[in-house]
């Protein structure tokens, strides 16, 4: 069953299609959740929530790219759980990643004040389209798929320092881009 057939089956309300979603994408979305949460029971619970959210949202949604759709849901659920846990002083997995992202935010306090999430997503997408492929892939795998620097280094046969340096440069460039582009204007 390909992605389109899975989405069609979900649209028709066939619950068995969820098994195909899990079969195809479980490894991907659990790896995202694991990077955010560092807690296996939370990961398992959020993975189930993720499937439930897919079931609840199709229909009305009919995603063209099921993989990206599932990952976005998993990421959102994982981050929500992270914030819930940190309020209760549980879990730290996402903290390092957020501290890295601090380098990429513009200095002005109101920079994102009236920005809708999709609009900022479009601005970041435009920025990423304009940079070299390796930097783009490293950035997306690090900050969307939440892959560790060590894993990225192994995957792309780079030294960890080289990955960190490249991510650092990309964050600095993103900051400059966001300051220039001002997504809320």
């Amino acid at each position: 069953m390909n992605d389109k057939e899975i989405v069609d089956a979900l649209y028709r309300g066939e619950k068995a299609a969820l098994n195909h979603v899990a079969e195809r994408y479980r490894r991907l979305y659990t790896s995202i959740l694991r990077q955010v949460l560092n807690n296996e029971s939370d990961v398992e619970e959020c993975a189930n929530d993720c499937l439930l959210a897919v079931w609840d949202s199709i229909p009305p949604n009919r995603p063209d790219n099921l993989g990206a759709y599932v990952c976005k849901i998993a990421r959102r659920i994982g981050i929500n759980r992270y914030h819930h846990n940190t309020r209760e002083k549980r879990g730290q997995g996402y903290t390092v990643l957020l501290s890295e992202l601090e380098e990429a935010i513009p200095d002005e306090e109101d920079c994102f004040a009236s920005v809708e999430c999709p609009s900022l997503g479009e601005t970041i997408s435009r920025f990423l389209t304009g940079i070299d492929r390796t930097s783009r892939i490293l950035f997306v795998r690090r900050y969307f798929y939440m892959e560790s620097v060590k894993s990225l280094a192994e995957r792309f046969s780079l030294r960890e320092n080289a990955v960190s340096a490249r991510l650092h440069r990309t964050r600095r460039r993103l900051k400059a881009y966001l300051e220039k582009e001002r997504p809320n204007e």
């Binding site: 993989g67 976005k72 957020l98 999430c117 492929r133």
Partner: protein
Amino acid sequence: MNKELRVRALSEGIGAINDCILREAAEARAVRPKWRWALVAASLAVILCLGMIPLGLGGLHTVPDVDVPDWVLASLGEQTDIDDLHKLHYYGALFAATSDTPTSLRLPAVPRRLLASTLPVGRTAGTTDRYAVDPNEIFQITRTIAFQIEVEDGSGFLASQLGGGVINVVVSENSLETMITFRHGDRYYSCLLNGISEDEGGYSAVDGSYVERDAVRYHFSTHKYIDGFDIVKNTNQLNFSFYFWLDRKSAQVVDFRCFHSGDGDAWDIGAPTPDTVTVIPNTSMVSGLQASFTLRDLQTRFGS
């Protein structure tokens, strides 16, 4: 808006990155450390020395890792029914060469089954053999080379099969035999390996000039070709040889030539001639990633 909220907003913005960029990153090919190549090469060298498999020079050299060319990405994004061995090989090899995603179709490896054991060996003129490949069996790709060529329109063999223009070429070592597939739009032509050899350069036999080269030369012959799901050996027909040279250092295909080798019937007026071919620079991809799959798996991945 304090810093924490701005970082959270940025993180949410990253969560809304467009799907094309997400897909590109998710499907990004892992680069294998070079020591693994060395290990594979050493193992192959030992096996070759023992005479257990009759090919593999292509596996002996270390190949630099390269990005996946745009034309390969375009092919991977296509939807098509896998209804013959041309497509099974073309899409399967490109999939294997680039696949390191959770949707990988990898299955346990199957033993190499060489066609030499099923088709008569030798070049006896006037013989025809046909071997039907079971499309449901597991097909294994162990090494892939992909590149683009430009074929001059006219009476050339490839031009008559596919039409002239830019043609995608996919070569793989696989569980059947080393195979080359040419694709132009919806038209395919595939044939099988005749031999692999080293080319370390030297003085040209044509004009005496010194040719600097450090490449592996692949030689394919139209006497063994693909027809539907059959592999056919037919020495009754005109034989064309395709040679290409894979440069070791750059991992790019640097030359491609087509010859009429003289086997088969006498040359007829109006019969195809050797093609005039130019390699399109910087379109090559070499990959040692392996995958095993069935036609059904590929149909699920690419089927329309």
